[in-house]
């Protein structure tokens, strides 16, 4: 080893702390950058792997009347495997809507992940959804009974196992039902022949060549939708065919009865003609005829065939899963970069300080005749070593742990097969960044120092001539300060770069912690504000018959009052943009304003519906670039209409267009017929909610009831799915701030060791010596925290903007807790650093520091 190189390694040995600090900071930056960047893909990969392993179907089609053998053949298109499943929804257990499947050993798709017990082996056995155990308390060996309407071979089955299914990845959602209270609570499998169905009601189709694609990718979605298109075309005429043929076969029985009835009638008429009193028989006959007629009608209804096509994206919980990993990816684009920037700045300061300390040495080497490059090389290697070690450690730890921690904390989903790939591209990017901030910094500082001659270098650097600071000119303020404070302020401004670094470090940490809370709070706020400020009702009931529905409602204990509206959906166009799935709400009367509060986005004033004008919600207005006064185009079924926008209203979730009856009449040429009720209800228990929905479905001719309570809890669940990642952010941001503060304080102490020794010799007590330097930290920490509040708000706003979906606005909200936690953490860090510094200063070698001439 060359003496110069040896010298470098000894230097590292002497200042281990600083070398480790650089490694640590780079490591943290890389760790969070790579870790967070890897989390999104890992979440998607793991879900993909899980659904591929369990052979989730790509397409599912259900038929109201079942499938024939030839249907199966029709459905098997190139590359696809088709399996037929008997499926129905039934009410079972404690009044729960159950999605019930027939278990067929020979079927491979959508295979169950048995969590305990086993699959059904005998006729009287059932395997239940895992949530039956966790949420509803069922146990192995118990009986599970179905209602009579379920029409199964048996009424009750023995629970022999609990399972998860790739069709139901999100434990919190099972889809909607047309039985029970309208929400599926469980899925279950009983032996195939127990279903008591003649034909299979569901076809599962799976394409081998699609399995390597990412389920959430556009390329997968496009491929699947083109397959659906092919299938839909093939089945287009099939529905009517099947309806007719089913009707014909079953009609025979009815037709025979009609013949019997007719001949009986003839006989009666003849008897009547013969003068006999047959009026009672005739009456009976008439009622039988009526029954027969309604049976015919019922048959038509029952044989009416329709198909529902579903892809993976339609499965409950799937889209939400994709969205939450998208959201993490959006966070990953800003958060870690910010983190990295701080790490780079700190590394820069540290390297600068290190090289400045070695000035004399560099001068000596130069005087001895070493070339610039030979000297620079050592710092280059020093920085390179620190940068490389930091990057490798950070990349490996970040990539391997963060995604796994998040996966492990994703308790809301079925157990996933973890698939954490090493993200080479991101690691390379991180490496580039860290080398710029280490080697780059070293090169800049060295080239600056090396441009001085050896003689200059060997002399201590001329101290920057001290100046009066601006604050001193504010005499009334300055004169009131204690002597020690004056000294602190002077020092703060003397070491400007360190001052800014400390502020950036603290502000960065505060901002990142605040952002962590902010993301969470804001997502939650989209729900709480939508259902607090804007939607002031407790439930929406869609109904076929307002009168019947109201009759049921009036019997309900918690029902207070309701407003009728006409609700339909359509598309809106403006300036080349388009928004689908807009809800058009036309209220029946003025009561409406007590149920939905329309408030202008700018003036915050209440809005009224004007004739021949409509009110749009904010997100849609933003997408369409619409403001009050603009003319928009809208489309319901087929026809396009034009209308003026009177105002844009505050709204957070979904797209709505509000119009009055006159406007509706004018636009669509007919009176709106109310089909939806907005309800005011007293506080309900979940049982009461289920009961009411049940009643409305059964007796009130309702099509469905949805409670704002459920919607709000869905949003709060969405919020909590982000908890793990937020927690990690908060933790790492804290560590970063701490390392920054510690490192800078260390540099500060080493730069001013002479000054500190001097005051120690003067007889300052240990506490006073510590305060002499820490007082500056306190001021900087306070400033940093305040700046951090501002930056945190900006950063949150930016990330929310990135993460917002087409349907939802996340109003920037950071609760007091966030501010408190960030502030308290920063104060704790300042105190810890103070204690460490105190300990260090107690044992500094003041004699040694004062002896030398430098």
């Amino acid at each position: 080893m060359k003496p110069l190189t040896k010298n470098m390694w000894r230097d590292i040995g002497k200042s281990k702390g600083r070398f480790i600090a650089i490694i640590l900071i780079i490591m943290l930056g890389v760790l969070i950058f790579v870790g967070v960047k890897a989390t999104g893909p890992s979440l998607n990969d793991s879900l993909n792997r899980t659904v591929v392993e369990n052979k989730l179907s790509d397409i599912q089609v259900t038929s109201t009347t079942g499938f024939t053998k030839s249907d199966l053949k029709k459905a098997s298109i190139k590359g696809g495997k088709v399996e037929a499943v008997k499926y129905k929804q039934a009410v079972g257990g404690k009044g729960l809507a159950v999605s019930l499947y027939g278990y067929d050993k020979n079927n491979n798709q959508n295979s169950l992940i048995v969590r305990s017990g086993h699959l059904p082996r005998n006729n009287n056995e059932i395997i239940l959804d895992q949530v039956a155990q966790t949420k509803y308390g069922y146990k192995l060996g118990q009986k599970f009974s179905f209602s009579k309407n379920a029409n199964l071979k048996n009424r009750s089955y023995k629970i022999v196992g609990f399972a998860s299914s790739p069709q139901y990845i999100d434990n919190e959602s099972r889809g909607s039902s047309n039985v029970g209270d309208g929400t599926v609570r469980l899925f279950a499998y009983i032996p195939d022949d127990q279903m008591n169905l003649k034909a299979a009601t569901q076809l599962n189709i799976r394409f081998k060549n699609l399995q390597s694609k990412d389920t959430f990718s556009d390329s997968y979605k496009d491929a699947v939708s083109s397959k659906v298109d092919i299938l839909e075309t093939k089945f287009k005429k099939r529905a009517d065919q099947r309806s007719t043929s089913l009707y014909k076969t079953s009609k025979n029985v009815l037709a025979q009865q009609q013949v019997k009835l007719d001949s009986y009638k003839n006989k009666l008429i003849m008897s009547q003609a013969a003068g006999m009193n047959v009026s009672s028989q005739l009456e009976k006959l008439n009622s039988q005829q009526k029954e027969l007629d309604s049976a015919t009608k019922e048959l038509r209804k029952q044989t009416k065939t329709s198909y529902i096509w579903q892809t993976r994206a339609d499965l409950p919980g799937f889209s939400a899963y994709g969205e939450s990993s998208d959201r993490i990816a959006a966070i990953a684009n800003v958060f870690p970069v910010f983190f990295f920037l701080i790490a780079a700045l700190i590394t820069f300061t540290t390297v600068t300080r290190m090289i400045e300390e070695a000035r004399g040495q560099i001068g000596t080497f130069k005087a001895l005749g070493y070339t610039k490059w030979e000297i620079a090389q050592n710092y280059f290697y020093y920085a390179l070593t620190a940068g490389l070690i930091g990057t490798v450690l950070g990349a490996v730890i970040g990539n391997e742990t963060l995604p796994r921690i998040v996966l492990a904390l994703y308790k809301q989903y079925i157990p996933l097969t973890w698939d954490v790939k090493f993200q080479w591209l991101i690691v390379l990017l991180a490496l580039l960044f860290s080398l710029i901030s280490t080697v780059g910094a070293a090169m800049i500082v060295v080239s600056r120092e090396l441009s001085e001659g050896p003689a200059e270098l060997m002399r201590p650097k001329a101290p920057k001539s001290a100046k009066k600071i601006l604050l001193e000119r504010i005499k009334p303020f300055w004169n009131r300060l204690s002597f020690n404070r004056k000294v602190s302020y002077r020092n703060l401004f003397r070491f400007k770069s360190r001052m800014f670094m400390t502020i950036i470090g603290i502000a960065g940490g505060t901002a990142l912690i605040l952002t962590g809370f902010g993301i969470q709070n804001s997502i939650g706020a989209s729900g709480s504000r939508q259902y607090g400020e804007i939607f002031d009702y407790q439930a929406v009931v869609k109904t076929n018959h307002l009168g019947d529905t109201l009759k049921v409602l009036k019997k309900d204990q918690q029902y207070k009052n309701s407003a009728a509206i006409h609700a339909t959906t359509g598309k809106i166009y403006h300036s080349g943009h388009q928004v689908n799935d807009v809800n058009f709400y036309t209220p029946e009367n003025r009561d409406f304003s007590k149920y939905i509060h329309l408030k202008d986005i700018n003036s915050k004033k209440s809005l009224n519906l004007k004739n021949n004008q409509v009110i749009l919600t904010k997100k849609m207005a933003t997408i369409l670039d619409v403001k009050a006064g603009d003319i928009i185009k809208l489309k319901t079924v087929g026809k396009t209409h034009r209308v003026k926008v009177s105002a844009v209203t505050q709204n957070f979730v979904g797209h709505f267009m509000y119009l009055n009856k006159t406007t509706y009449q004018k636009l669509f040429g007919k009176q709106p017929k109310s089909n939806t009720l907005l309800l005011h209800l007293d506080r309900q228990t979940s049982n009461q909610r289920n009961n009411l929905a049940n009643q409305l479905l059964k007796n009130g001719r309702a099509l469905g009831t949805s409670y704002t309570y459920d919607q709000q809890s869905t949003i709060s669940k969405m919020t909590s799915s982000l908890n793990p990642i937020i927690l990690i952010f908060i933790l790492l941001s804290g560590i970063l701030s701490f390392v920054v503060l510690y490192n800078l304080t260390n540099i500060n102490v080493s730069e001013r060791i002479r000054e500190l020794s001097t005051i120690k010799v003067l007889g300052f007590y240990d506490k006073e010596v510590t305060m002499y330097i820490v007082r500056e930290n306190i001021v900087l920490t306070i400033l940093g925290i305040i700046v951090g509040y501002g930056v945190g708000n900006l950063l949150t706003a930016y990330i929310l903007n990135q993460a917002s979906t087409a349907l939802v606005i996340f109003p920037l909200t950071i609760h007091l807790t966030g501010y408190l936690v960030a502030t308290i953490l920063m104060i704790i860090f300042t105190v810890i650093v103070m204690l460490i510094t105190h300990h260090k200063l107690k044992y500094i070698d003041m004699i040694g520091a004062l002896k030398s001439s430098e």
């Binding site: 001290a466 000294v487 005051i759 010799v761 003067l762 007889g763 240990d766 001439s853």
Partner: protein, 233 residues
């Protein structure tokens, strides 16, 4: 009784395998209100004993009795208090705080003791009343050393310890500084100890202690110390 009594003082440094003895059984006395010069070549152990006298370091062995108390047995806290209230230090390299003005540098010291002298007054004494608002970098070496002396004096200490105070100064400024120190002793009755390797300075002192090779070689009293201005070297 003498103000300072050093009795069989040892200072040993353990450097790996070898032991360096910086002070080897030093014994001497220093009288209250007198000017004492410690003379000896570089590496003799002068600074070591001065640092111990000033409470910056503790002896390995022996007694350091100052005004009747053995500071050799003091705790860190007691030593700090001793430095704070009883000692003023002047170093070869002035060790001023670069970021504080002349006056503030003096205030730094006066702020921590109760019976401190007025900083402006002391600065006038050392002839720097015109430079009160200047920063150290704007002063010459001699001026800086005078600020350092003012800083030491402002605490109104009983004992003034000076380690080669003229080491970095030229002849004339060196004389000015030494005059200030001689006055502190002869006019203000402070006990002053000056370290130097310049034997010509012996004649300004009331007592001369010669140290060589870690041992006291001689202690000599001078009944008629010369004013610094009259000494030539």
């Amino acid at each position: 009784m003498a103000y300072i009594e050093v009795k069989h003082e040892y200072k040993r440094y353990q450097m790996g395998e070898t032991e360096i003895i910086a002070n080897n059984d030093l014994s001497f006395e220093v009288e209250r209100g007198k000017l004492t010069v410690i003379l000896g070549p570089s590496g003799a152990g002068k600074s070591t004993v001065l640092n111990i006298l000033g409470g910056m370091d503790s002896p390995s062995d022996g007694e350091i009795i100052i005004d009747g108390t053995d500071i050799g047995k003091f705790t860190e806290r007691q030593l700090t208090e001793y430095r704070r209230n009883d000692v003023g230090f002047v170093f070869q390299f002035y060790n001023l705080i670069p970021n504080l003005t002349t006056k503030e540098n003096v205030e730094l010291a006066s702020a921590i003791v109760d019976d401190a002298l007025d900083p402006t007054e002391v600065l006038k004494q050392v002839g720097l009343s015109q430079r009160i608002d200047n920063f150290p970098s704007q002063l010459s070496g001699g001026e800086q050393q005078r600020v350092a002396i003012a800083r030491a004096l402002a605490k109104n200490p009983k004992l003034l310890l000076c380690d080669e105070p003229t080491g970095a100064l030229d002849y004339e400024t060196g004389k000015q500084v030494l005059t200030l120190l001689q006055n502190a002793s002869h006019k203000d009755d402070k006990t002053v100890i000056i370290i130097t390797h310049n034997s010509a300075l012996a004649s300004m002192a009331d007592r001369i202690i010669r140290i060589n090779d870690a041992k006291v070689r001689s202690v000599e009293d001078n009944q008629d110390p010369k004013p610094v201005q009259d000494i030539e070297w």
